[in-house]
């Protein structure tokens, strides 16, 4: 299982990032808390649809769980359809956030907890 933490810097000591779509890096860990990889989030540079682009980046890296702060409704639709579990409530550094998750102190979300950035009435259309 791969766990991604949204981060403001490229290492485990960097502050965990509140924002999902526009965060600069993701730090990837395995279940035991070993650092696997640092991803530069190319999705953040997208003019629009950054949450979707970011989700795509995570999917490319086969991430199962993401620990972050605010996730907009479209990114949430994307993540839940892609089967990625989302936990919020990051604080402190990336390493501290990971510890909290492993202690079961982070909140799993099924509902988006950030206001969407762009307009929708219909939710994303899912083709299965």
């Amino acid at each position: 299982m791969k766990i991604a933490v949204s981060a403001a810097g490229p290492d485990a000591g960097a502050p965990a990032e509140e924002r999902f779509g526009r965060c600069a890096y993701f730090i990837l860990f395995d279940e035991q808390g070993n650092l696997l990889e640092v991803i530069n989030n190319k999705g953040a540079a997208s003019a629009e649809g950054a949450g979707i682009k970011t989700t795509q980046v995570l999917l490319r890296h086969n991430v199962d769980v993401v620990l972050t702060g605010r996730v907009g409704p479209k990114a949430m639709t994307a993540l839940s359809n892609a089967g990625v579990a989302v936990y919020t409530g990051v604080s402190g550094t990336v390493a501290q956030t990971l510890d909290k998750y492993r202690e079961g102190l982070l909140v799993p979300v099924t509902e988006p907890n950030a206001r969407q950035h762009s307009g929708v009435k219909e939710s994303g259309r899912v083709v299965k």
Partner: protein, 287 residues
């Protein structure tokens, strides 16, 4: 003759001026059309009270994925510059509200699994206010893509004289309104806000190579702020309308200025003649 009426700043009286020019010209038996290109907040109908005869919905083409053909290769999602597609291991999800209708996903799909389907971004209404032909665009609330709607409304009606009422600012929808017009009338007010935004608008109009002139609205005694700027920039000040609480009150009730003051009607006709002359000169200079 196509005249666009623009202003960097909102609330300078663009719509009031544009509708009054149309009304004055129409009263002078000229064939005129007024087109409201401020698709985010169209207001011209308040002053013109048109009868809408025809409504056309405006669509862009967004992708639909044919699941029988899709191999989930993810090429479409990678290529989309707007984040409108997401490819997972067993599905492609489309977020049509992000889609700009560029058609790239369809073109690049290696297995032809994408077909375009229409998505509504707004509507264009056409009608008449007395002898004035009228059209306006109305963006769907929550839709962020206005330039295609501006283009659609612009081409909807034509007449001998067409007055285009632009949105405020200097961004894409304004550019789509002003480009290709014969003349751009910039409406401003003599405040530092007005001046700041006029300067932005002048730069915008100059990038488009559209000749322009300035109308100072709500002028009050003593302030030569705009005149001085126009002199420096060699811009003609075509008309000055004094500040008046009476006009503001009439405006708040949706009454046209020219009904308040017959002199203003003549002033607007003169304004049009001046614009005609400027455009003719411009053409001669080019030939």
């Amino acid at each position: 003759m196509i005249i666009s009426v623009a202003s960097g700043k909102g609330g300078t009286g663009k719509t009031t001026i544009a509708t009054n020019i149309a009304l004055a010209l129409s009263a002078d038996n000229r064939r005129v059309a007024y087109i409201d290109c401020d698709v985010e907040e169209p207001n011209g109908h308040i002053f013109l009270n048109p009868e809408i005869e025809d409504t056309r919905e405006i669509f862009i083409e967004v992708p639909r994925i044919n699941d029988e053909k899709c191999t989930y290769c993810g090429k479409c999602a990678d290529l989309c510059a707007f984040g409108a597609l997401l490819c997972t291991t067993d599905s492609v999800i489309t977020f049509s509200e992000f889609c700009h209708g560029c058609g790239g996903c369809q073109y690049f799909c290696p297995v032809e699994a994408i077909t375009p389907v229409p998505k509504k971004i707004g509507k264009v209404e056409k009608g008449a206010a007395g002898d004035i032909k009228f059209a306006r665009g109305c963006l769907e609330v929550g839709a962020a893509l206005s330039p295609p709607l501006v283009d659609a409304v612009k081409s909807r009606v034509t007449s001998d004289i067409t007055v285009l009422d632009a949105p405020p600012g200097t961004s894409c929808p304004v550019i789509h309104t002003v480009r290709g017009t014969d003349f751009c009338l910039l409406v401003t007010e003599p405040t530092p806000f007005g001046l700041n935004d006029l300067d932005l608008a002048v730069q915008m109009v100059r990038t488009l190579s559209v000749p322009c002139g300035v109308l100072i609205n709500r002028a009050h005694h003593g302030s030569r702020l705009i005149e001085q700027y126009c002199q420096r920039e060699q811009l003609p000040v075509l008309q000055t309308i004094p500040h008046s609480k009476r006009i503001a009150e009439a405006y708040s009730r949706g009454l046209p200025m020219i009904e308040l003051d017959k002199q203003l009607e003549n002033d607007f006709l003169q304004l049009y003649r001046d614009i005609e002359e400027l455009v003719a000169n411009e053409r001669n200079n080019h030939n």
